[in-house]
Assembly symmetry: D2
Homo-oligomer: 149 residues x 4
DNA sequence: TTTT
DNA sequence: TTTT
């Protein structure tokens, strides 16, 4: 009885990060920027950029890790999810992410947005970054789990 | 060159809060829940509820303040916006909200989702709540501003 | 490299029609109305209703046949598809439908939009209707086919 | 109490056609293709292309007429509308179009999807084409009308 | 053909 | 941190 849907078209700010949970499930993180232009009260054109944290799981994670790169323009469809975590002082903190289940690379073949792997899919060495980076180490997925979030 | 769109169908967790900026612009805040059901690894049906903070401005804010109420099911369309604020220790904190520009009340006349004002639009007494409540007092809008965010 | 998405919230004009292809694949057809209100040049409020033909396949078709009914308000997500057929004079004709892959019943339990089967899922006796009714008799699906359209 | 929304990312099949109603309102028509790939029952990758007729009004029509061209990849957001017309034998016919209110050119500067006017906005000489081309000649709009469809 |  |  509910709908939770996000649709974004934007550009990656950095290369995506592909990782694996302890049980071997692929997860890919990256952020994309959307920019809105508007006129301020003086009639001058201004821009406002919004950054969105994207999480992708399983097969689509592998594809994102393999084909996406900094600067690429993509279409993302997914759902909003707010994740709770604790900062170093044990205080509760919340981070909102888009859990994407569809991704389309935009632009046409021949430009930087063309198909074809950009590089060897690079697995990130570790996950010691401070939040909002998720640490999935303590998540005990089976690789074939139908992960519900 | 970008798209930032959120579509939600969910139910209000509380009555909406209608306020006005110092310059008289109406702003309405409320949160809605979306619930997803899935089967866990034991095959049992589980539910996961997500809460979304909604912000509405100007005329639509007045409508939301007047017609929405706790429990009502609505359709929301808007954009994602992450707002930065400081906690009491001066640390940067971020809250993600949906700035809605379309709202539809769902359900049919005769149920609790019917049309007709639920009450006198209630203006909240103050805005001294802790974040993620936005404090718009220091925002100097003109009422007719084309507020860009 | 493309996106084809339709999102509708509207009411069924009639009970849905559930059928099966020769190979046993369930297909459900119904139409929903969306209504837009606007002001004409005299400032009078006018309404314009749009009718949308919905097609649903397989498991979701069974659900729609079982739970939907005339008047119910639903959320539909799917894709646009234009189907070519021939009228009685052999002229080519085109009908645009929404092939839905997600459906949500709206409203809350207790009203007419509540859950629970409305009746025995009724299979339509035949398909001798004139277009835009699709005649799937000559479609040779295997029940488990991953029907691509 | 309803929602009627279409979201497309696709490529123009031809240059857009910019026209004006008798009262001077700009209207732009073009079609875009979306392509879906799937595997047939033999496991072979197949493609299915869908064509969508787009109608844009007023200021956005001028922009589309000026900047869009055959082959360009765009994002379109709008609503479904089925228009009734009569064929030469006086039989009723129906054409479904997307009335777009948002358009974004995709891809990055430097490729064929770059910004900058492609040519002088070309006004089509006449509108004697057979349907589904709309003939707006008998529509009596005032240029500033808030055209409701 | 629905609904408000 | 992107892009225009």
């Amino acid at each position: 009885m509910s709908v939770n849907k996000v649709i974004l078209v934007g550009n990656l700010g950095k290369d995506p990060e592909l990782r694996y949970t302890a049980s071997g499930t692929a997860v890919c993180n990256f952020s994309i920027a959307t920019t809105e232009s508007y006129k301020d009260r003086d009639g001058n054109r201004q821009e406002k950029t919004e950054w969105h944290n994207i999480v992708v799981w399983r097969q689509l994670a592998e594809i994102c890790g393999k084909y996406l790169a900094k600067g690429k323009q993509i279409y993302i469809e997914g759902k909003l999810q707010t994740r709770k975590w604790e900062d170093r002082d044990g205080n509760p903190r919340y981070t909102t992410e888009i859990v994407a289940d569809q991704m389309q690379m935009l632009g046409r073949a021949g430009d930087d947005n063309s198909a074809g792997p950009r590089r060897e899919p690079r697995q990130e060495p570790s996950m010691n970054q401070s939040p909002p980076q998720n640490n999935y180490d303590n998540v005990q997925f089976n690789p074939d789990d139908d992960i519900p979030f």
